[in-house]
Assembly symmetry: C2
Homo-oligomer: 241 residues x 2
């Protein structure tokens, strides 16, 4: 059988957190909408007893599961990316849910008034929203991640426990996305958040991840995804230079 | 021991989804910040190996878990509010995560530019964001919930399986909140979304829930919470009369 992942074929988006977990573990999967197109995905999305509200969703035999964090929680134990103890598994998922919030806020910088309007129709609002994100929210989330890593009783190589988890993999993608979208705000990231930067590098340098990122399976970042590089939204990072 | 729930004492907010799961099952718990104050909560939040990014969080012996959906997933099996099979448990959590998104969008109607500004400082933006929420998003989410209930192979009394779950309890709170915040947009809710309305009534009429809602343990809705009644944001529901 194998895993069938369904996500918008032209963007990384929320599906990329799932793709990376599969790729980091060299797990075979089909990226169905890239093979069969979006109409096939939309049709599948509404089928069965557990319809998805939106992509991404994963089909594994008779199970269909949506929501990036929900998919990762389902896949984690199967891919060896979830810690074994209950408390550590709960902590891993809590980090995932907090990263989900962080990513949603990154998205909202360019769509503060919602997805019903184009970016160009909400640009002044995006400027105001992005300012708060860059000045307050990015540092607040990363300070929390730093603390999480430093408090790991088994060492600071991983976010949870002493092995790779979905949390580590998702932090890699989070940092990649923020660097693409907010290079100015992120330029002191390595210095200010060394633990998180170290986890990012550790995942980046995994042979499976490096091979994936260099492949054409990795969709490029663009101004259609969650992380968008609009230089005007990245200007505030200058102010404390 | 028992459960210690930490959340802002003056609002329902995201903590209410956890309170309701505990109350619906008559599970003893301490609502710590209401007894000991917010400083005690903030202190506790940063402690230990698994610090919370934000309230709500739950302490159960040596486990500390944050994120409403994460707390409910941890508590569900312990309270008998999670279906037993893996596929059904995954589906229950997927519904919970989608409700989380719905609630976040309800929040963003009054804070489209983020929590760094007061509502009064983002009112024009809130009007634009609320319009899309009322006209497009509320119906879209409820149509999905209707489909979920109708597809339940064991009947339409519950969202998942044939017993009460965290998903049912959270739908109750979701509907209560939307009715408080958007009475105009929600006035045809019973007619347009009869399955979801039936689940809402089923939970509302549980003796434990009814007793809780009538008690002073239930914090009233207010314009400090997630669901806020600003009549100007509720005006668009009229247009298709």
């Amino acid at each position: 059988m194998g895993y069938d992942l369904y996500y918008w074929p032209a963007i990384q988006g929320r599906g990329e957190f799932v793709r990376l977990a599969l790729e980091a573990t060299r797990t075979p999967y089909r990226d169905v909408a890239r093979e069969e197109g979006v109409p096939a995905m939309i049709r599948k999305m509404g089928e069965g007893a557990t319809p998805a509200f939106a992509p991404p969703f994963l089909v594994d035999g008779t199970v269909m599961v949506a929501q990036a964090a929900g998919i990762l929680q389902y896949l984690g134990p199967k891919l060896g990316l979830t810690p074994e103890g209950e408390a550590e598994a709960v902590w891993c998922h809590q980090i995932q849910l907090t990263i989900t919030d962080f990513v949603a806020e990154a998205h909202d910088t360019h769509h503060p008034l919602g997805n019903g309007l184009f970016y160009e129709d909400q640009k002044p609002e995006a400027l105001r929203r992005a300012k708060g994100f860059v000045v307050e929210r990015i540092p607040k989330y990363f300070r929390w991640l730093e603390r999480a890593i430093l408090r790991n009783p088994t060492g600071t190589v991983h976010l949870v426990g002493d092995a790779l988890s979905t949390a580590d993999v998702s932090v890699f993608q989070l940092v990649e996305g923020l660097r693409y979208a907010f290079p100015n705000a992120m330029r002191r990231f390595e210095r200010d958040f060394p633990q998180t930067a170290q986890v990012h590098r550790m995942v980046r340098d995994l042979p499976a991840v490096a091979a994936y990122v260099a492949s054409d399976r990795r969709v490029p970042f663009s101004e259609n995804g969650i992380f968008r590089h609009y230089p005007e939204l990245d200007a505030e990072g200058d102010e404390d230079e």
